[in-house]
């Protein structure tokens, strides 16, 4: 019985992944066109510019920074992992807002759902695309960090899979948020929240320098956990807390994706 069932289940899962991959394939085809291609490549430079401006420029005014374990590092080395995490968030949320455009304005998924592809597979396919795109940014950014001596090759190798987890978490969250966005006004709200997270997640100054109330709030929000995880790894400050951050991010990814799959089905198949 089981031996008969398993290949069939496997074949079914295989078909799902293949259909999700077809959704990813659409984005690959679109990315070959000029406008889109440019947006993709230039997306990489945004965190780099922030790193150079705040990390090096403002960093020159700050000089050194003391880590919790007493070691001192440059301000740029402190800011860099935060930019890495923030760029994963920004990339995922941008992709999610693109998805709103595809869903509500371009009505792309109406055509997709007239084929055997199912709503959950659309969500999965978009997420895979976001991950591929985000991970290539992260890789390039880590290479640059090594070049600027903001981390070592070894720690960069450890940090890379962690950036994939961060991207996965924000990808799932973004997709769930996308199903709630109704109007251009909502885009504005998402942008403001995103920007607030970017500024206050321990990105430019340690979270414990904030007032107590803000600190507590920050510790609930997702980017903080991404920043802390990546900062721990690229500065080589290992502690058990890193596991907690990882667990938070994995949970966020799965909750987000589940909500997204369900709500997309309801939104599109009325």
């Amino acid at each position: 019985m089981v031996t008969l069932l398993l290949p069939r289940l496997a074949a079914r899962a295989d078909a799902r992944v293949r259909r999700a991959a077809a959704v990813t394939g659409r984005n690959v085809a679109a990315a070959r066109h000029f406008g889109y291609w440019w947006a993709l490549v230039s997306g990489f430079f945004e965190p780099v510019l922030y790193l150079l401006s705040i990390g090096l420029g403002v960093g020159a005014l700050i000089k050194t920074f003391t880590l919790p374990d007493g070691r001192t590092i440059s301000y740029a080395a402190f800011v860099a992992p935060a930019m890495l995490a923030a760029s994963a968030m920004n990339g995922a949320l941008t992709e999610a807002m693109n998805m709103v455009g595809k869903m509500r304005y371009m009505r792309l998924y109406d055509a997709v759902l007239a084929t055997p592809v199912q709503p959950f597979e659309v969500a999965l396919g978009e997420l895979m695309w976001g991950l591929v795109r985000g991970s290539s940014y992260s890789l390039a950014f880590l290479v640059m960090m090594v070049g600027m001596q903001l981390t070592t090759v070894g720690w960069a190798l450890v940090a890379f899979p962690a950036t994939v987890i961060v991207g996965f978490a924000f990808g799932g969250l973004g997709m769930a948020v996308a199903t709630y966005v109704r109007s251009w006004q909502d885009f504005d709200y998402v942008m403001v929240v995103q920007f607030a997270l970017f500024l206050f997640s321990g990105t430019f100054a340690p979270a414990d320098s904030y007032p107590w109330g803000v600190q507590v709030l920050v510790q609930v929000t997702p980017l903080y956990h991404g920043v802390e995880l990546l900062r721990g790894l690229t500065t080589g400050t290992l502690n058990w807390g890193l596991l907690g951050h990882t667990a938070y991010l994995v949970a966020l990814a799965s909750v987000g994706l589940t909500i997204a799959g369900r709500r997309m089905g309801r939104l599109l198949c009325r």
Partner: protein, 254 residues
């Protein structure tokens, strides 16, 4: 003939009456958040190191004021102008009336400057509440912000009327707006930049706006003298305006 120009301005106002709430968030709250995050938390570290002659929050607040003017001017001169040609074709509709191209450009830029002025005024009040205004010249920072708005909105109007795919807005943002925001002296003095980057900062309209704005709120002297900065921003404004009317004419002809 001021009337058609005013009609174009009014057209924008009518729409703004319905959308102003959302824009308060992005045009007012964002810079305030930036001021809090950079000025107070990062500022604590900068002040302890003592690299600047003034408090860090006093240093970046006028810079953020100028950069806010830039952001709003660009935001209001990109999509709204582009869709006026491409999607809701507002300009084509106006062309069928006595409104002239110069009226369209002036009326619409006038509205953009109103938006810039409102946000800048709000931000100035916040700056006052945070105790970052140290000179009797501080109110002059408001017209400076509006001038920065004009010097950037006018050329961006020309850009938006020239491009045929909206993907090119990302180019403008990433090649011009974001680098300017980050490197034109808002967050740190341009003196620490390598020479080539410093020259780029001098070329950008924002740096001149930041210098003027800082001079107004801190009561300090500017790098090149007030009139040089004002004149440079005026050049951007006039050339941008001429380009914009030229591009509008072209676009409406085909």
């Amino acid at each position: 003939m001021i009337r058609p120009t005013y009609a174009v301005f009014e057209h924008q106002l009518v729409a703004y009456r319905r959308t102003w709430r959302g824009s308060v968030l992005s045009s007012f709250l964002l810079p305030v958040l930036f001021l809090l995050a950079m000025g107070f938390t990062v500022g604590g570290y900068v002040d302890r190191a003592g690299g600047l002659s003034v408090r860090y929050v006093d240093f970046i607040a006028p810079g953020l004021l100028a950069s806010t003017a830039l952001q709003i001017a660009v935001g209001e001169s990109t999509w709204p102008v582009y869709s006026g040609f491409k999607w809701h074709r507002m300009y084509h509709a106006m062309q069928a009336t006595p409104v002239r191209v110069t009226d369209m450009v002036r009326g619409h830029i006038g509205y953009v400057l109103l938006r810039v002025g409102l946000s800048a005024a709000g931000f100035l009040v916040v700056m006052g509440l945070f105790g970052t205004l140290h000179s009797a010249w501080a109110p002059a920072a408001l017209p400076v912000a509006v001038l920065v708005g004009l010097a950037t909105a006018a050329p961006v109007f020309a850009y938006s009327a020239s491009i045929s795919t909206e993907g090119l807005f990302a180019v403008l943002l990433r090649v011009a707006v974001i680098p300017m925001t980050l490197f034109a002296g808002v967050f740190f003095p341009v003196g620490s930049l390598p020479l080539w980057a410093r020259i780029l900062a001098y070329v950008s309209p924002l740096w001149h706006g930041v210098e003027l704005s800082r001079a107004a709120t801190l009561g300090t002297a500017t790098a090149w003298g007030v009139w040089a900065h004002l004149g440079y921003l005026a050049v951007w404004s006039v050339v941008g305006y001429l380009l914009a009317t030229h591009r509008f004419r072209r676009r409406l002809a085909d």
